[in-house]
Every structure is written in structure tokens, then in C-alpha cells.
């Protein structure tokens, strides 16, 4: 009984939103706007619940003296300080911006820098691990794009910019178009399955 109820709600709401695209009726348009607003509110609440759950998990890990509880303590302290500063002074205050500019941005930027070193290391080790044709093509393409993207010490190698443009606009775009078409077909199929009740990501 519950499952039928859930399916009925999901199908009805999906059909209303979908029909709102094709039929320009005031009733459908208003319903569609209301339903979308509900979805936005629920998403925002879900974000708050996720944040509270994160805090609770680490609080329990810290209070029960589990291994690596020190890191949980660091997270809790950071969480409380950031919440207090941003909540008290506002998100655009100088203190809030200081935390963002001097802690969050450098940390995430450092992770990206580490990724750069690791990718270079993986590229160096690829020939040794899998010395086959695909590895040669992969590394050759990467090296060519790296050379052609930058200024190359001001040296203008003939044809390298054109080759880089061809790789970026033909093989890469062909792959991207294939991905987009696949995503579109998959989205349609998934939408139809949800509308018909075959897929029930909402449970029931």
C-alpha cells in the first residue's frame, strides 16, 4: 500500500513538471513552480542535515576515543570556529573572508598541486608498467597538448598549434558529443522508468 502511494506521488509530480514544459497552462505552470520550490527547500534542508550529521559523527568519534580521534577534534574545533565567525559577523565580513582566503583556498589549491605531481609521476611510470601501443598514444597525446598549450619559451613550432586545435576540436569533441548523446538518452530512459514506476529511487 505504501509503495503504491509513493509511486503515485512520484508519477504525478513527474508528469506535472514534464507537462509544464510542453503545455503552457497557468495551472500547470503554477504547480510546477511550487513543486520546484519544494524541491529547493528540501535540498537546502538536506544540506543542513548532512552538516549536522558530519558534526555528530566526528563528535562521537572524538568522545569515544577512537583511533585518529585527534583529527575529529580538529574538525570539530574548525567547524565551531567557522560557524561562529560566519554566523556572528556574516559571510562577507573581513574575518569570514580571511578564513576562506587563508585556509580553505590554500588547502584545496595544495591538493590540486599534489595532483599535478602525482599525474606527472604516473605518466613517467606508465611506460615501465604497460609498454604497449595504447600507452604510447596516450602519453604522446598528453605531451603534445602540454607542449602546444603553453607558450613554449616563445618558440613557434610550425603546425603544433594546428595539431593541438585539431585534437581538441575533432577527436575530443567527437568523444564529448558521444558522451552528451549517451547522457541524453540515459536521462530520457531514466526519466521514463521513474515516471512509469520501474525505478524507485525514492524507496517503496
Amino acid at each position: 500500500m505504501k509503495a503504491t502511494f509513493y509511486v503515485a506521488i512520484a508519477m504525478a509530480i513527474g508528469l506535472i513538471v514534464l507537462l509544464g514544459y510542453f503545455l503552457h497552462l497557468d495551472l500547470l505552470a503554477n504547480l510546477r513552480v511550487v513543486l520546484l520550490e519544494w524541491a529547493v527547500i528540501l535540498s537546502a534542508v538536506a544540506l543542513l542535515v548532512g552538516t549536522a550529521n558530519l558534526f555528530y559523527v566526528h563528535w562521537r568519534k572524538f568522545t569515544t576515543t577512537q583511533p585518529n580521534g585527534f583529527y575529529s577534534a580538529v574538525l570539530i574545533i574548525s567547524f565551531v570556529i567557522t560557524l561562529g565567525v560566519v554566523g556572528w559577523f556574516g559571510p562577507t565580513h573581513a574575518y569570514s573572508m580571511w578564513i576562506f582566503n587563508n585556509i580553505q583556498v590554500p588547502i584545496e589549491g595544495s591538493l590540486m598541486a599534489l595532483l599535478t605531481v602525482l599525474l606527472a609521476f604516473a605518466g613517467v611510470g606508465l611506460f615501465r608498467r604497460k609498454p604497449n601501443l595504447m600507452s604510447i598514444i596516450f602519453i604522446g597525446t598528453a605531451v603534445l597538448i602540454l607542449f602546444a598549450t603553453g607558450p613554449l619559451f616563445g618558440i613557434n613550432l610550425p603546425g603544433i598549434s594546428e595539431l593541438r586545435a585539431w585534437i581538441a576540436q575533432v577527436p575530443a569533441v567527437a568523444g564529448a558529443r558521444g558522451i552528451l548523446l549517451g547522457v541524453a538518452l540515459g536521462t530520457i530512459a531514466t526519466g521514463l522508468r521513474v515516471l512509469m514506476g520501474a525505478d524507485r529511487p525514492y524507496g517503496g
Partner: protein, 555 residues
């Protein structure tokens, strides 16, 4: 205190219970008991009168079938027929029941004694029974044949018992068939097992009958099995191995001893040091200034659209990237946003990422401080749009209700009670913006913006354009939208290369110029590292392999 379990429901009952207290199933097998049997109401005519006389050799069970009560004589029966009850007297002395034998319910009946009968009038039904009612005389009662047959009185029965010369009665065939077979040898079934002989009840003496209650439903004590398994030595080894595996799952494994310095460590540190050294040298010396790249068609299209904007145009600017990629995205967008501010555009900032609104504030303050844009005057930050693609669609459908306030909790939109902030005056729908610009680092987010926003821009009389500033990785995804006819994205700038090209177009934009030289130097160093390092390592690896492995690899 003993107890017995019901074979049907399995619940416990007192040992003396005959039926289950819960399911009313019978607990004691139904066995014929002479004491519980009632006297025969009638004796068939064919039954010999000497049935009470036990013939020689007659077993007890048959005697038990006999009634303990004396059979009424013919005279007493005749008295009953003649209305012996009219007087309230019982038929005869032999059938007289003493007061002690009378049950309570019978004693309470009216008319039990003559005095009470006189004191209380008989009820109608009793009058009918006794014939006191003034009814027309009924027909004479027809007595059945068996009842009219003279029965021997008690004296005759007693005398007949003593007459040994009397021939034994002939049993009917059905009775002969169920005679006990006490003295007969135990029969054997077809399977060679001795058959069970019924010991009680009407089927007593019969062999091979189905029991009334099967054996398997009778409660009995469950068998006890030995707890120790008989395993072979091989099975014992396997069991010990499995037990060891299971126990080791919950145990922390000691980490292998690290060697001091491995070739992998050396290689990793070498690559990192080379990259850091190249970038530091380039930044510190500043000698890697390189000419900015040439602009491309999509970049030139963005420049053209911004150049054609009217003065004080309303522009929606979405900041949808993560802080980790802010270096690239800031450099790519600096020249473009600078161009917008030069045109005096009013900016409305939104984001579908939780960190996006702060990144937008940071971008305005850090890269565009020379324009002195003020929050709430020249630009308005509407904050975060939750819900991903759904939230984006909601914002496209009705921006005023999706994001009604600024990041500083000020009512942003124009209404009857509120004039609205300058950046949003005259804006009711998405089409009221002159330009939509999305700064995005993720291909999926970029696709979501195009797919959700573009249908709104396809409406007639819409002059709003959609342009993108993306990271380098999004370029292949954006290009199909740009090359579509009609264009779904009217222009885009990708990565630091695109930002530098835009800076080349406008002649402004400090950040991409600063980054461009070290960026190119770092790219070349990384490419050389991969190329040279890969060739060297693969050569060393091939040479270090034993000949046998080389042969296997060739195969």
C-alpha cells in the same frame, strides 16, 4: 507436577487433562471405557436374550459392552405404556432410584414428589406427557416388534448364566471380524516388520490398523546427539585454516617495514623538485614572459557580445567552481569580467555551489578592486542556489521566489513595497538580463546550465545571450553547444589560454599576463619530465628483465 504437551499446538497442559486447554485437541487417546458407556436404549430383536450371559471364553471387552443397568422387564415396560407416569410413580422396584442417586437437576424438577406435585400444578408440556390435557383420545400406541418381544426377567437371566448347556450365541460376521486376537500370533507386515495390534477401543485386537494419532505427533523427548563432530585430519586442517582466516580479519596487520629510500621515493621527489624549481625560478626571476596567445572564434564572440552591451546593462554572473581551481578560473575570467565592468554593467552574482558566493566576493575584491564595485549598488550577491539542476530550473522559472534576498539578507528584487536594488531594477525574469555569464569548472555543471537556461532564451523577442568561462577540461564539452545551429552557447573562454587570449583582445587583464609565462614553462617541464623519464625508465626496465621474462613478454 506432571505436564503433557499438546501434539497439535505444542503447548503445555496438566497431566490430568484430556483435551488441550488451548486448541481443544485430544490429549489422551480415545479408548472405550465401559464405565463411561450408557445403557443401551434398545436391544435389537435378533440379539439373543442370553447376551448378558457370558459364554465360555468370552473376553472382558465384550463384557464391557454390556450395560451395567438391568434391562427393564416386559412388565415394567408395559406399565410405562399404560401411563404409569400418571401417578407420578416410578415403574418398578428394580428401577426405583433412591433419593441419594437422584442428581440435583432432577431433584429440582417440579412434581418429583407427590407432595410437590399436589402443591404445584403440572406444566402444560408435562400435562401433555401425562395425558391430563383434554385432548381427544389418541390412537393406540403401536409397539414395535422388538419391544413387544418378551424379554427375560432378571431371574431368568441369572438362571441362564448357570445353564452351561446352553449353546453359545452366534455372533454376526462384523462382530466376529473384530474379535480379539489375543492368543493369535503377531502378524508380520509385507516389509517383514511386526504389525501393531490395537489394544484398546472398538478396534482392539485388530492388527495393522492405522493409529488414531500418528506416532510423529505424539510428544516425546527429543533425541540427544553427541556434540563432538567426527572429523578427519584433513578436515581439521581446513577448519583450522578457515578459523585463522576469520580471526585475522579483525586483527590489525603490521605494516611492512619500509626501506629507507626506494627508487619510487627518489623518482617522486625528483619530479616534485623539478616542477617546483621550474615554477619558482620562473616566478622569482620573471624572465618567462611570453607573448599572449592568439584569440579564437569563440573568444572573439564573447568579446563582441560584451562590447555590444548597452550602458548599465544587467548581467547575471554565475560562479560555479571550487576553491581548488580558483587560480585557473580567476585567471580565465579576470579579463572578461574586467571588460564587463568597463562597460558599466550591473552584476547579479549567483552560484549552485555552497562556496560559490564567497568565491564571487573574493573575485570581485581581489581581481576587480580597481573598479570599486560596491555590494548592493553595482552588484548584488544572491548567494547559493540549492538543489543542483532542480534548483537551477527553479531559479530560471522564477528567480524572485528562488533567491529573494542577498547574501546580506537584504530584499533584492523590485516589488510594490520595495524599490529593489539597482542591479535588479527592471528585472522580473531571466530574459530581462542582457547577458548571462557562467564561470564553471565542471563539465556536468556547465551542461546543466546550458540545458536548463537555454530553453528560456529560445523564446521570441529574447535578446539575452549565454556565454561561458570554463576551465580547460570543459572545452570539448562546450564546443558542441557553440557549434550547434542555432548556437546554444554564444561564446566561451576556456582556461588560462582563453583568458590570456581575451586579455590580448582587450589589452587589459593583469592576472593572465602574470600567469601565462610560468604556466607555459611549467607545462613544458612537465611534458619533458614525462617524455624523458618515461623513455629512460622503460629502457632500464627492459634491460633489467631476465631473458626468460623477455621471451614470455614477446609471446
Amino acid at each position: 507436577m506432571g505436564e503433557i504437551f499438546c501434539p497439535m499446538c505444542g503447548k503445555s497442559n496438566p497431566a490430568e487433562s484430556e483435551v488441550c486447554q488451548f486448541c481443544q485437541a485430544r490429549l489422551v487417546p480415545l479408548v472405550f471405557s465401559p464405565a463411561e458407556s450408557e445403557p443401551p436404549e434398545a436391544i435389537p430383536e435378533e440379539m439373543p436374550s442370553s447376551i448378558d450371559a457370558a459364554p465360555t471364553g468370552e473376553s472382558d471387552w465384550l463384557l464391557g459392552l454390556r450395560s451395567d443397568e438391568p434391562i427393564p422387564s416386559e412388565e415394567s415396560l408395559a406399565d410405562v405404556e399404560a401411563g404409569g407416569l400418571e401417578d407420578g410413580n416410578l415403574p418398578s422396584d428394580e428401577t426405583h432410584i433412591s433419593a441419594d442417586d437422584v442428581p440435583d437437576w432432577l431433584a429440582r424438577l417440579p412434581g418429583e414428589s407427590p407432595q410437590e406435585a399436589e402443591a404445584e400444578p403440572l406444566s402444560d408440556w408435562l400435562k401433555e406427557e401425562t395425558g391430563e390435557t383434554e385432548q381427544p383420545p389418541s390412537k393406540p400406541v403401536e409397539v414395535s416388534d422388538w419391544l413387544s418381544h418378551p424379554l427375560p426377567d432378571e431371574g431368568q437371566v441369572e438362571s441362564s448364566e448357570s445353564e452351561s448347556e446352553l449353546a453359545p450365541g452366534e455372533f454376526p460376521s462384523w462382530l466376529e471380524a473384530i474379535r480379539p486376537v489375543k492368543d493369535e500370533p503377531q502378524t508380520v507386515s509385507a516389509r517383514g516388520t511386526p504389525e501393531r495390534i490395537e489394544s484398546a477401543g472398538p478396534l482392539a485386537g485388530l492388527s495393522g490398523v492405522l493409529p488414531a494419532e500418528p506416532d510423529h505427533v505424539r510428544p516425546r523427548k527429543s533425541p540427544t546427539y553427541p556434540l563432538e563432530l567426527r572429523v578427519s585430519a584433513n578436515q581439521r586442517i581446513h577448519a583450522d585454516l578457515l578459523q585463522g582466516l576469520i580471526e585475522s580479519e579483525g586483527r590489525a596487520q603490521p605494516l611492512p617495514q619500509r626501506r629507507g629510500i626506494s627508487s619510487q621515493h627518489v623518482l617522486r621527489w625528483t619530479i616534485a623538485c623539478v616542477l617546483w624549481g621550474a615554477l619558482l625560478w620562473s616566478v622569482i626571476t620573471g624572465k618567462q614572459e611570453a607573448p599572449l596567445p592568439a584569440y579564437t572564434e569563440e573568444t572573439a564572440e564573447v568579446n563582441r557580445l560584451i562590447s555590444q552591451l548597452p550602458g548599465e546593462a544587467r548581467v547575471l554572473l554565475a560562479f560555479d567552481y571550487e576553491p581548488g581551481l580558483s587560480a585557473e578560473m580567476d585567471a580565465a575570467a579576470t579579463a572578461v569580467v574586467d571588460h564587463l565592468m568597463l562597460r558599466g554593467a550591473y552584476l547579479t552574482l549567483v552560484s549552485t555551489s555552497p562556496t560559490g558566493p564567497i568565491l564571487a566576493e573574493r573575485f570581485i575584491m581581489k581581481t576587480q578592486s580597481s573598479h570599486h564595485y560596491t555590494s548592493g549598488v553595482n552588484y548584488v550577491n544572491l548567494g547559493y542556489i540549492p538543489g543542483g539542476a532542480m534548483g537551477l530550473l527553479s531559479f530560471v522559472e522564477n528567480p524572485q521566489r528562488t533567491l529573494p534576498y542577498t547574501l546580506d539578507t537584504v530584499a533584492a528584487w523590485e516589488s510594490e513595497a520595495h524599490a529593489g536594488l539597482p542591479a535588479l531594477q527592471g528585472v522580473q525574469h531571466l530574459n530581462d538580463f542582457e547577458l548571462l555569464m557562467v564561470i564553471v569548472d565542471d563539465p556536468d555543471l556547465a551542461r546543466a546550465w546550458v540545458e536548463q537556461v537555454q530553453p528560456q532564451l529560445n523564446e521570441p523577442d529574447t535578446l539575452t545571450s549565454l556565454v561561458m568561462v570554463t576551465s580547460a577540461q570543459v572545452e570539448p564539452v562546450m564546443r558542441p553547444y557553440f557549434e550547434a545551429n542555432p548556437r546554444q552557447v554564444h561564446g566561451f573562454v576556456f582556461g588560462l589560454r582563453g583568458g590570456a587570449a581575451y586579455a590580448q583582445l582587450t589589452g587589459r587583464g593583469e592576472l593572465p599576463r602574470v600567469y601565462w609565462g610560468p604556466y607555459g614553462f611549467g607545462l613544458v617541464v612537465a611534458a619533458l619530465l614525462i617524455l624523458i623519464g618515461g623513455l629512460v625508465l622503460s629502457s632500464v626496465s627492459l634491460l633489467a628483465r631476465p631473458p626468460q621474462v623477455k621471451g614470455e613478454a614477446n609471446q
